[in-house]
Amino acid sequence: MTEQVERAGGTQNGTSVERRGDRELLVTRMFNAPPSTVYRAWSQPELFQRWWVPKSAPGISLVSCDMDVRTGGKYRLEFGAGGSDTMAFYGKYLEVVPNERIVWTNDEGEEGAITTVTFEDQGGKTLLVFHEIYPSKEALVEALQGSAVALPEQLEQLDELLPGLIG
């Protein structure tokens, strides 16, 4: 797993982000724990909400987080930026294999991506692969355009980003 992926600069401590073809996004990262641990941190709402919204995103917080992580289950996340307005992200789990993979839909937008996260055992460590496939090239382009403009405020940037990313 020392594969060098071409990145858009920045530090390199393991998180790589690539585009695959014209409809897919791929994020990979190693974790120092077996898949069962990483899976728990991803599938238990009280743990998930502690890391999904990074502290470095000033002012954005998870107002509510409902996740019924099983095949056919639903999730709903609501974000707030301090005011009374919240942004909701929701969808359903298409496939859940504990400690191995979670696949979900992103239903808040017109053409939501299908997101798959897999947890692969690599000698007691976990290779996490986060994969998103958009229904069309245009849908990914739209996601790109929403966030490709360099914004002055990190908050705004994250605002732009979240819709395409939340699962």
Binding site: R7, V17, D22, W51, K55
Partner: protein, 115 residues
């Protein structure tokens, strides 16, 4: 923030969806080249190469200039800036998330709980 009036990104993705056109971009990354020399290099007719270059030009990825009878192509200023920025923004977000996740995983490891 200065806003550039870039061609829409779908034009550049469409432009880059073709292997020959990606090859042309690679080639121009090494230095400018005339349409004729590009056509030779990619074993294409002049007309075929002109079409490819036109697609790249419309997407803002390539600029051409005619000097005398030779049309020279070079990379457009914009390059793949927007795409690179998008990927970098995603990387930063996930980086931050995964660092927070590391901390939680360390906690869980310490607790040794793994049911």
């Amino acid at each position: 923030m200065v806003q550039y009036l870039d061609p829409p990104l779908d034009l550049s993705f469409a432009a880059l969806s073709d292997a020959t056109r990606r090859g042309i971009i690679d080639q121009l990354g090494r230095g400018e080249a005339s349409i004729t020399s590009l056509a030779d290099k990619f074993h294409m007719t002049l007309t075929g190469m002109k079409k490819h270059v036109q697609v790249l030009e419309r997407a803002g990825l390539v600029v051409t200039q005619k000097v005398g009878r030779v049309r020279t192509c070079k990379l457009g200023k914009r390059g793949l800036k927007a795409e690179a920025e998008w990927i970098e923004a995603h990387r930063k977000l996930f980086e931050a998330r995964f660092e927070a996740l590391d901390e939680i995983i360390n906690e869980m490891n310490r607790e040794g709980s793994d049911d």
